[in-house]
Structures are given as structure tokens and as C-alpha cells.
């Protein structure tokens, strides 16, 4: 098993005719992902990599039975794209777009509350269930099927972690990039709850970074009710306060969001924290043995 997406997922790519959208549609198809439709307003009727393009998400859902969306729409229009997907009945929305205004995300979050729909991202690499489907921009070949779940706020840092896991022989059930923005659709805890009930997931690698308190909240949840081993890594131990370190969400402000506090919270909850990124894979292997 895996969570949220598998070989049966039917993907609609929003923004499929753009450079990024078209490139990653091909990458996803090559991985074996069922990309069944694309959406670009005004370009309905065209085809990208053999995938039919529609003018609206609603049409893509009605005609092709799409149930997962992957969004490459530029920031000014991305909030609309997410809400459009949710209103059209898409169950899992993966928003790759980086640079969405935070107040737009406030609106999106408000709209999604109480709806039966999961938003991953924005500003994320997406989600992959190795060997089954890849919805996003991660390089597929570094992954292998296996018992480890990966949840991360970062993109390339996740690739690094996955690559190390694969090299030490630990494959992955599902890897999720939850996104580097201050407001994201789903948190560590949302996905931990799913992994708890996934029989194929035996352990979790949790990759956090400075800013906010998502890691502290995850630590508390794990201590309270998560029953599988967790290995964590926190990026930004040397980051100066008050500076936005690339990700809009990665900023230490008012003494909060520091890496050392997050590491302490995780360790106090009994979670193994790999302090050095270079040994993350080895650390996971030791714990999982």
C-alpha cells in the first residue's frame, strides 16, 4: 500500500501547456503515472504528449475521470487553480507553484476547511509512491519501493534524503513534500496520521527546517500516539535570524522557529534526530534494523 496516490490515480495537470507543465507531464508519463488530462484555459482541444487539454478542471473530471490534480499555474492565478480543483471534486491536489501571496493561501485554506480534499503544497516537489505513481517534479529514478515514508518541507533536500535511503537499502512507501511556504495545505501531522494506518509503512523520515512550529507540533503528536519509528532532520542550524532563507516559510522571527528548539522538541519526544545530513541514511538504517 501507499497513501493518497497509487497506480490507480488519474492525474490532471493544470497549466499543462506551460514550459514546466509540459516538461513534467512527460517526466510523469515516463514514470508510468496516469496523466489523463491537462487544463489550460483557452487551449482546450489541443494535446500535450498525447494528453487531451481541456478549458476547465470540471471538464477534465467529467470527461476523463481525473481525481488528482498537479498544478503548475503561475503564482497570480494559482489560488484560483487550487480552489477550482477542489470545487470540481478533485480529491488530492498537488500544488507545485512557488511564490503564491500568503493572503491568497489564507483564502484557499478557508475554502478547503471541512471539504473532503487534500492539498499538498504549495511550493513543493509533490508526492510519489515509488513503483506506482509520481505526481510532481522529483527525479523518479532515485526512489525505490519499500517500507519508509518521507515527509518534508523541502525539495532537493528530500531528494538527498531519499537517495541516501535507497543507497542503504531502505525503499519508500510514499514520499511527500508538504511545501516550504508559511501556509501549506497539509502538515506533518496530517500525513503521519495516514502513515500510522498504512500497513506497508514501517518507519518515517521527517525533514523539517527553520520557521514556524510544525516540527514541534509533530513531535508532540508522535510522542502521544504515533507507533512507528521516526528519524528526523532539521535544516537551518546555522541560519541567521530575520532572514528569509530561500523558502518564504524559512525565517526565524522573534526568537521562534529556531532549529535548536525543533531538534530539542523532537529529541524530547524520543525521536532520533540526525544532526548531520551526511549520515541520515545510515541513521535510518540503524533505527530500522
Amino acid at each position: 500500500m501507499s497513501i493518497l496516490v497509487d497506480e490507480k490515480s488519474r492525474i490532471v495537470v493544470q497549466g499543462i501547456t506551460g514550459k514546466e507543465g509540459a516538461f513534467h507531464t512527460k517526466q510523469m508519463l515516463d514514470y508510468g503515472t496516469k496523466v489523463v488530462a491537462g487544463v489550460t484555459p483557452g487551449k482546450g482541444g489541443q494535446k500535450v504528449e498525447g494528453v487531451p487539454v481541456f478549458n476547465t478542471v470540471r471538464q477534465a473530471v467529467q470527461k476523463e475521470g481525473a481525481n488528482v490534480a498537479c498544478i503548475f499555474v503561475p503564482p497570480p492565478f494559482a489560488a484560483d487553480a487550487v480552489i477550482d480543483a477542489a470545487a470540481s471534486g478533485i480529491e488530492v491536489i498537488v500544488c507545485i507553484t512557488e511564490g503564491i501571496p500568503v493572503l491568497d493561501m489564507v483564502k484557499v485554506s478557508g475554502f478547503l476547511k471541512g471539504r473532503d480534499c487534500v492539498l499538498i503544497g504549495p511550493n513543493c516537489p509533490g508526492i510519489i509512491s515509488p513503483g506506482k505513481t509520481k505526481v510532481g517534479i522529483m527525479p523518479g529514478f532515485i526512489h525505490s519501493q519499500g517500507p519508509m515514508a518521507v515527509i518534508s518541507r523541502s525539495g532537493t533536500l528530500t531528494y538527498e534524503a531519499v537517495d541516501q535511503l535507497t543507497r542503504v537499502g531502505l525503499g519508500q512507501s510514499t514520499c511527500i513534500g508538504i511545501g516550504g511556504d508559511p501556509i501549506v495545505g497539509t502538515t506533518f501531522i496530517d500525513h503521519l496520521k495516514r502513515f500510522k494506518n498504512d500497513p506497508d509503512t514501517e518507519g518515517v523520515v521527517l525533514i523539517g527546517e527553520i520557521g514556524g512550529s510544525a516540527e514541534e507540533e509533530a513531535a508532540e503528536y508522535i510522542q502521544r500516539e504515533f507507533n512507528k519509528p521516526v528519524i528526523a532532520f532539521i535544516a537551518g542550524q546555522t541560519a541567521p535570524p530575520g532572514r528569509r532563507m530561500g523558502h518564504a516559510g524559512a525565517i526565524i522571527s522573534g526568537g521562534q522557529g529556531k532549529a535548536e528548539d525543533k531538534i530539542k522538541a523532537l529529541q524530547n519526544a524520543g525521536i532520533t534526530v540526525a544532526i548531520n545530513l551526511g549520515v541520515l541514511g545510515q541513521t535510518a538504517l540503524k533505527i530500522m534494523k
Binding site: E20, F23, P75, P76, G99, P101, V102, L103, D104, M105, V106, S109, G110, P125, I137, M138, P139, I142, S152, S154, G155, T156, L157, T158, Y159, E160, D163, G180, P182, I183, I207, E209, I210, G212, S213, A214, E217, F233, A235, G236, Q237, T238, A239, P240, G242, R243, M245, G246, H247, A248, G249, A250, G254, G255, A259, I275, N276, L277, G278, V279
Partner: protein, 387 residues
């Protein structure tokens, strides 16, 4: 995008929040003119730099004569002001703001931020105004009140009441309406200007019962600037590091730090983690540089050039996990930069991911001396050897 105090106050004034009368001065002559126009004594002369902590650093002075306005302005202009937020070299004062003095009865703190956990704007209010709010939060958290706003409904009067009636001692009845109006307008300004931070500290109650914003800080969400063309003119590039400005031009994400190991990485998370690796190897990172997920050969070349412009850099670590950015593209960019700049510093390269073999071949065939690390642990070792 950070705004200066005088810019923030002008915006607040536009949104119906009372601010003192004030004029900007970039010369002592302009300051003299301002002092003549503004009723006084007293007058307040305030250095305009983005960093906080100006008061304690001598950047804010209350003076009693127009002559003093001029002399204080002269002593501030053109010189670096060192506050606890500026770093050791300080920040040069290019302009001062001259304001009327205000008779203060009580000081309050008010700010609005986005609460990540609830994904909603939150107003923070305290009677401990005029002081360092982080200190208040640490020492007496009970004095800080917070109200989350439902974005679908917007600001309501009960939000203001929840905050005001939390105070230990209420302001006089006559000024309650003024407080409520300021709070409602802070919310409106925050939302309409796409702020990520709007802070008034202190917000004061004057002896004659008025409510006025004495100091203000506004940060605009960079991601929302596309719909605020009118705010772009408020950007002050003099407040930024020249290397950071140059990096912005090429869409590179560069932040200058204090160490001597330059770093170039793709992806913000990996870049942060690489800085950490450098530190753990016993060295200090000279910068944060994220070239992004889909950098071109030219961007890589520019990235190396920018790192080399920092004279403190003694060695460079390039850590690339090729996903969308292919390792061969990276390698060509690095080789081009090395040849162009005639670099003599040790260059440690760690490549992994898409087209890694092609990338390593390009490095090997270039005839240049690279220290190629097979993984991050080895890269750290090589860094340690440079210290």
C-alpha cells in the same frame, strides 16, 4: 519588502490611522525647513534605516530647538548606525524623519501577522508598548493578547472588544472608539497592502485622549508585489547588500553571511543543510546561495562570480542534487566560471542525480583542479581540510 518608518506611516495615514506630523530630510537644510513647518518644541529626529533597535543605538533623539534639529540631523546623516539588528558594521543613515513631539499618557503595542497554524491573520495587542515585544513575550506572556480573524468575515468590532477588554486597566471611555477605529484600520491596511507584518510600537494614548502611531514597521509580502506596482517605488536598495542585489538580478537567492567557505547549492532546504554541514566540519559558511531547481548554465556562472566577489571566501563548496537541474549543465557553468575568473581557490564539487556521470566527466576533462566529493560526508571532510 521592508519599508522605512516614514513610508509605513504615510501608508497608515492613508488608511485612517493617526500619525504625528512629520517630514523627511536628507540634508540639514531640509531638516531646518521641517522644524519651521512643524509645531514645537519638542521635535523628534529619527534615523531612517530598516533595522530595529534605533532608539537604544542613539538613532532617535528628542530635541528642544530648531538648531538642535539641524545639528542632530547633521550628526546622524551619512554615518553608520549600529543597532542590535544591523550587524557589526552598522547601516548608513541616508535620511532622517523629523516629527512633532507627542504628550504621551500610555503606550501600547499592536501588530498584525499571519498565524501559520490557523492560516488566518492575527492581531497582537499589549499594554507593554514601547518596549521590546519579544522580551515581553518571554517575561510576561500574560500581557500579550491575540485575536485571530476569520478571513471570510473580516474584521468585526467584537475582535477589538476582545483585545481591549483584556487590558488590566481600560483606557478612558472617550478614547475606546479611537482604539477600535485604529484596530479596524490596521486590519484593512494589512489585507489591502498584502503585508506580512504590520507593527505599531508604540501606539500611544496622548494626554488629550488621542490615539496615535508613534513608530511603525511594515513588511510587504514579496510574492504579492506583482499586484502592488504602486509600492515598488518604496523599495530602498541602499539597505541591501550589493552582492545580494546583483544576485537578485540573475534570479539567484543569495544571502551574505560572516564565514569564509562559499557555498552554491540547488534548492533552499539543501542549501541550508549544506551551510550546516560546513559549520559542523569546523568552518563557517560565507553565504547562502540557492540557484533554484532549474538553473541555467549562465546562472551557475554568475553564482560562482558572486561568491568570488566576497574577498573573505577561502574555498567554495558546490553541492548539487540534480533533479530538473542536470549535472552536466551545472558542470559546464562551473567550468565556464572557473575559466572566466581564473579562480585559484580550492573548489569542492559534490554532484548527484540526473546526468551525474556526464557532469563528472566535464569536470575531469576541463583540466581544472576540482576536489570531487562522492557524497556529502566526504564533501564535509574536504571542507574541513581547507580551514
Amino acid at each position: 519588502m521592508k519599508l522605512h518608518e516614514y513610508q509605513a506611516k504615510e501608508l497608515l495615514g492613508n488608511w485612517g490611522i493617526p500619525v504625528p506630523v512629520g517630514y523627511l530630510a536628507t540634508t540639514p537644510e531640509e531638516a531646518a525647513k521641517a522644524a519651521q513647518t512643524i509645531a514645537g518644541p519638542p521635535w523628534v529626529v529619527k534615523a531612517q534605516i530598516h533595522a530595529g533597535g534605533r532608539g537604544k543605538a542613539g538613532g532617535v533623539k528628542v530635541v528642544q530647538s530648531p538648531e538642535e534639529v539641524v545639528s542632530v540631523t547633521g550628526s546622524l546623516l551619512g554615518k553608520p548606525l549600529k543597532t542590535k539588528q544591523t550587524g557589526p558594521e552598522g547601516s548608513v543613515v541616508n535620511q532622517v524623519f523629523i516629527e512633532e513631539g507627542v504628550d504621551i499618557e500610555r503606550e501600547f503595542y499592536i501588530s498584525m501577522v499571519i498565524d501559520r497554524t490557523t492560516a488566518s491573520p492575527a492581531m497582537i495587542f499589549s499594554q507593554a508598548g514601547g518596549t521590546d515585544i519579544e522580551e515581553t513575550a518571554a517575561k510576561s506572556a500574560g500581557q500579550i493578547y491575540r485575536e485571530n480573524i476569520d478571513p471570510a468575515v473580516g474584521w468585526m468590532d467584537h475582535n477589538a472588544r476582545n483585545l481591549l477588554y483584556s487590558l488590566d486597566s481600560l483606557p478612558p471611555v472617550e478614547s475606546m472608539r479611537a482604539f477600535m477605529s485604529v484596530m479596524a484600520n490596521v486590519y484593512k491596511a494589512f489585507v489591502n497592502l498584502d503585508c506580512s507584518l504590520l507593527e505599531i510600537n508604540p501606539l500611544v494614548l496622548t494626554k488629550d485622549g488621542k490615539v496615535i502611531a508613534i513608530d511603525a514597521k511594515i513588511t510587504i509580502d514579496d510574492n504579492a508585489l506583482f499586484r502592488h506596482k504602486e509600492l515598488l517605488a518604496l523599495d530602498d536598495p541602499r539597505e541591501k547588500d550589493p552582492l545580494e542585489l546583483m544576485a537578485n538580478e540573475y534570479n539567484l537567492n543569495y544571502i551574505r553571511l560572516n564565514g569564509n567557505i562559499g557555498a552554491m547549492v540547488n534548492g533552499a532546504g539543501l542549501a541550508m543543510a549544506t551551510m550546516d554541514v560546513i559549520k559542523m566540519a569546523g568552518a563557517e559558511p560565507a553565504n547562502f546561495l540557492d540557484v533554484g531547481g532549474s538553473a541555467s548554465e549562465e546562472m551557475i556562472t554568475r553564482g560562482v562570480e558572486i561568491i568570488l566577489k566576497d574577498s573573505r571566501v577561502k574555498a567554495i563548496l558546490i553541492n548539487i542534487f540534480g533533479g530538473i537541474l542536470r549535472c552536466d549543465v551545472l558542470a559546464r557553468g562551473v567550468v565556464a566560471a572557473a575559466k572566466k575568473t581564473g579562480i585559484e581557490l580550492p573548489l569542492i564539487v559534490r554532484l548527484e542525480g540526473t546526468n551525474v556521470e556526464a557532469g563528472r566527466e566535464i569536470l575531469n576533462d576541463s583540466g581544472l583542479k576540482f576536489l570531487v566529493a562522492k557524497d556529502l560526508a566526504e564533501a564535509a571532510e574536504l571542507v574541513a581540510r581547507q580551514v
